[in-house]
């Protein structure tokens, strides 16, 4: 099998970078607003449901299987004096019950059985105390910061500061857009989301490195002083074009995988699969249109300054 447009492609990526900047800005803005409303107290001012999971807020979560409609389960929990949030997950009759009251899962199951008159199977129960919730929050934050720092340090070591800076911006770009979309849909942010976001960061950097590596290789053929702005733009385009087939194919195989995880992986892995499915696109896009574009623009500015 041969894919025609992947052989010797000659696409003017860098010529379209102004449009890409606009698209990215809009997406980042939407992501930021979504994150602010879903995950900060700001959202509760407007009565928007917060989507931090009990991993971070503390509380209880019980998943049960009972052959009853969701309304009956809901009214049963109200009868038991719980201010619970109830969701249907996976197949029918599988319910996720979230609440803050100090009621043991065993007594919840017994109460449901008594009120509904049906057998209730306890599938999952989680209880996170407020202390652990705060600790996990702190850990997630440290995790993200240390993860970022380590990667950036490595990139600065292997490449240069311009690329390092551009990569940093791209990482924020990727995380904000992907996480923002995830929370926009009202999905919960739990510990696996943090892990998925860090994986996305790794993937996105991976992609950027392949392009940057080629840019460096092509740039090596010129003496920097001889490079005209036009040459520079061409070098970037050439580097992106000659790695394009690899970029497309790897993104494609990764996409196949995370998408099948999204379709078949079930509720436990849903958050993870969602973040990475969206992330494959955002991460690939950003290595071309955020990292390469920014580095090109910064270098062009440098050239102009030298020219004067």
């Amino acid at each position: 099998m041969r894919i025609k447009w992947l052989e010797n492609p000659n696409i003017d990526f860098m010529g379209k970078r102004k449009i890409a900047y606009a698209v990215s800005s809009v997406l980042v803005l939407v992501g930021l607003i979504s994150l602010l409303l879903r995950l900060t107290p700001l959202g509760s001012l407007f009565g928007i449901r917060q989507t931090w999971s009990i991993d971070f807020t503390g509380g209880r979560l019980v998943q049960v299987y009972v052959e009853a409609p969701i309304d009956q389960v809901r009214s049963a929990t109200i009868k038991m004096g719980l201010r619970a949030e109830i969701q249907n997950v996976g197949q029918a009759h599988e319910f996720l019950i979230k609440y803050k009251e100090d009621v043991e899962p065993d007594s919840l199951v017994r109460g449901l059985e008594r009120i509904l008159g049906k057998k209730v199977r306890l599938d999952r129960a989680e209880h996170v105390g407020p202390k652990i919730g705060a600790e996990l929050r702190e850990k997630a934050l440290i995790l993200t910061i240390v993860g970022l720092l380590v990667i950036l340090f490595y990139i600065w070591l292997r490449f240069d500061i311009l690329f390092g800076l551009a990569a940093t911006i791209a990482l924020f770009h990727d995380v904000i857009i992907t996480w923002g979309l995830h929370s926009l849909f009202g999905f919960e942010t739990d510990m696996t989301v943090i892990a998925a976001l860090l994986t996305l960061i790794g993937y996105s950097i991976n992609d950027s490195i392949v392009v940057a590596d080629r840019v460096r290789e092509y740039l090596g053929r010129f003496r920097l002083i001889d490079v005209s702005p036009k040459d520079l733009e061409r070098i970037f385009n050439d580097a992106i074009n000659s790695t394009l087939s690899r970029t497309v194919i790897t993104s494609f195989t990764t996409f196949i995988v995370v998408f099948s995880l999204l379709l078949f992986g079930g509720p436990v892995l849903f958050n993870f699969a969602f973040i990475l499915t969206v992330g494959v696109f955002v991460g690939t896009y950003s290595s071309i249109f955020v990292v390469s574009s920014l580095v090109l623009d910064w270098r062009l500015r440098g050239l102009r300054r030298k020219g004067k």
Binding site: I132, K139, M191, T250, T254, V257, S260
Partner: protein
């Protein structure tokens, strides 16, 4: 020159066979139904589990509990240091009595203990066994007269404070909340909170006779279904504790206790001497048996007991009596603990999760294989072989390191399928590029591998760095993911760069192929 690469090919084949062989027990365990597990019996199942890859609680079902040691109860800072260690020891003893396979009990940080119980889903029972301090104390009850005077003085105080509407009846504002039960003072369920808050008033606390304290009894359900808790006034002094206990056994009682669960306890020599003196000096008085600050029962001492035997009555079910006996035998926790975090996964959800994970893995693998074969032909087949080896070796290395496969780990495994081919894609694309420039296959192969390897290393090291950060800083589920990811990356470097190069070498050098379809 023939055969230069043959031994390498043999090595690959040997690794494959060995790798697959190591995974047979895991495969058996994963595909076994509940009925089969019942049938082969406990011992054989344990043996199988020992050989197989450890499966996380989220796959096989079980409980995960994080306990914290109540530091406020430790006076001596030196004691705190080993308090958590002692807690681990005691809980291990207790869990052993439950017969759980490979429980994990470990100290984390200074004051945390993590308990993992695979296969245990009865939360209440496990919580009773793990969370109870099991501090057993024997305390003498105050005389009835002293207790009655105390109750009266509380009435008087509340009347004086006047925030209880003036009452002309004989019954005082406090005693009105109480009832008599079996000759003791008891509190009906609806008044528990009120009575408790009154007893906690500083003014009321000052009325308690010096050297005494008020303790609640355990919850009793009366014949007409009402719930009560008795109140006791006991001496603060504790002449005897469970520390002197050597044995505890649960039985159903005889004679007047017929059919009632009873826990018989036996003291050591010192304990027996203390107990004999205590009972001898206080015949006719009542002795409260206090467990974790709650009075279990308060029998009247009939005579001196020289044998060092006592019994605890008033336990609702035999199962609870057995659990109580078990934790008494294991010893009391040196400090109270608090449950900070609990996660339970039922066995059916775990089975469902792993089934879904396998389907996702299967679908992803087949699609990637089809694509690689179509796009890269024979070279694609070599990459697929490397991918397969990668998956098998990851599981093998995990089994060797005694690591645990969790659902997030499963996600990491699936992700590896997508990302592992990346290295080969980079190499193959580079080879194609060189071929397009008109180079011979042999040269293109050399250049392709040489150029792509640097990029692959750079790209993989960043991912590996993230994975390592996740592994060291991550908690529970994330760690499982990070372990798989890191192992996968390292193995991937071998399978996708070295192994594929060997196979190409064999085809070109040994089999004298001019070019491999790519």
């Amino acid at each position: 020159m023939s055969g230069k690469y043959l031994w390498r090919l043999g090595l690959i084949a040997a690794l494959f066979v060995g790798g697959i062989y190591m995974l047979i027990p895991t495969y058996k365990l994963l595909t076994m139904s509940e009925e089969e597990k019942q049938r082969i019996g406990r011992q054989q199942l344990f043996d199988l589990k020992k050989k197989a890859l450890n499966l996380g609680l989220d796959i096989q079902g079980g409980m995960y509990i994080v306990l914290s040691v109540d530091k406020s109860k430790v006076k001596d800072p030196a004691q705190l240091k080993d308090a958590a260690d002692r807690v681990v020891e005691v809980i291990r003893n207790r869990v052993d009595q439950l017969g759980v396979f490979e429980p994990v009990i470990q100290k984390v940080g200074e004051d945390r203990v993590i308990v993992q119980l695979p296969g245990v889903v009865s939360k209440e029972r496990a919580r009773n066994i793990i969370g109870k301090t099991a501090l057993l104390e024997f305390k003498l009850l105050a005389d009835d007269k002293v207790f009655a005077d105390f109750l009266k003085s509380v009435d008087d105080l509340l009347r004086k404070r006047g925030n209880f509407t003036a009452d002309t009846s004989q019954v005082g504002p406090f005693t009105r909340l109480l009832v008599g039960y079996e000759g003791d003072v008891a509190v009906p369920e609806e008044n528990w909170d009120k009575v408790d808050s009154i007893l906690n008033l500083p003014e009321v606390k000052r009325l308690i006779p010096p050297g005494y304290q008020v303790l609640w009894g355990r919850t009793i359900t009366t014949k007409d279904g009402k719930k009560l808790r008795k109140l006791f006034l006991v001496q603060k002094r504790t002449p005897l504790t469970g520390a002197h206990l050597v044995d505890a056994q649960a039985t159903l009682g005889q004679q007047q206790m017929a059919g009632q669960p009873v826990v018989h306890i036996t003291f050591d020599r010192t304990g027996a001497v203390i107990f004999a003196r205590l009972t001898g000096e206080n015949v006719g008085k009542r002795l409260a048996i206090v467990l974790d600050g709650v009075v279990q029962s308060a029998p009247r001492i009939q005579e001196r007991i020289p044998t060092g035997n006592a019994q605890i009555t008033g336990i609702p079910t035999l199962q609870e009596a057995q659990d109580l006996a078990a934790i008494l035998r294991a010893g009391a926790l040196p400090v109270p603990v608090k449950i900070e975090e609990e996660r339970i996964v039922g066995p059916s959800l775990g089975a469902d999760s792993i089934r879904r994970g396998m389907i996702a893995l299967g679908v992803a693998f087949i699609l990637v294989v089809i694509f690689m074969l179509l796009y890269y032909k024979v070279a694609g087949a070599i990459a697929v072989l490397a991918l397969l080896a990668n998956l098998i070796f990851i599981l093998d290395v995990m089994a060797m390191l005694n690591a645990t496969l969790t659902m997030p780990g499963m996600a990491g495994l699936i992700l590896t399928v997508g990302m592992a081919v990346d290295a080969n894609v980079l190499i193959f694309e580079r080879i194609r590029e060189e071929l397009r420039k008109g180079k011979s296959f042999r040269t293109a192969l050399e250049v392709g591998y040489a150029n792509a390897t640097r990029t692959i290393l750079d790209a993989n090291i960043t991912t590996l760095l993230t994975a390592i950060v996740l592994m060291f800083l991550g908690v529970g589920p994330i760690r499982g993911f990070a372990i798989v990811l890191s192992i996968g990356i390292v193995i991937n470097l071998f399978t996708s760069i070295v192994m594929t190069r060997w196979i190409f070498g064999y085809l070109i050098e040994d089999r004298k192929m001019q070019a491999v379809p790519i």
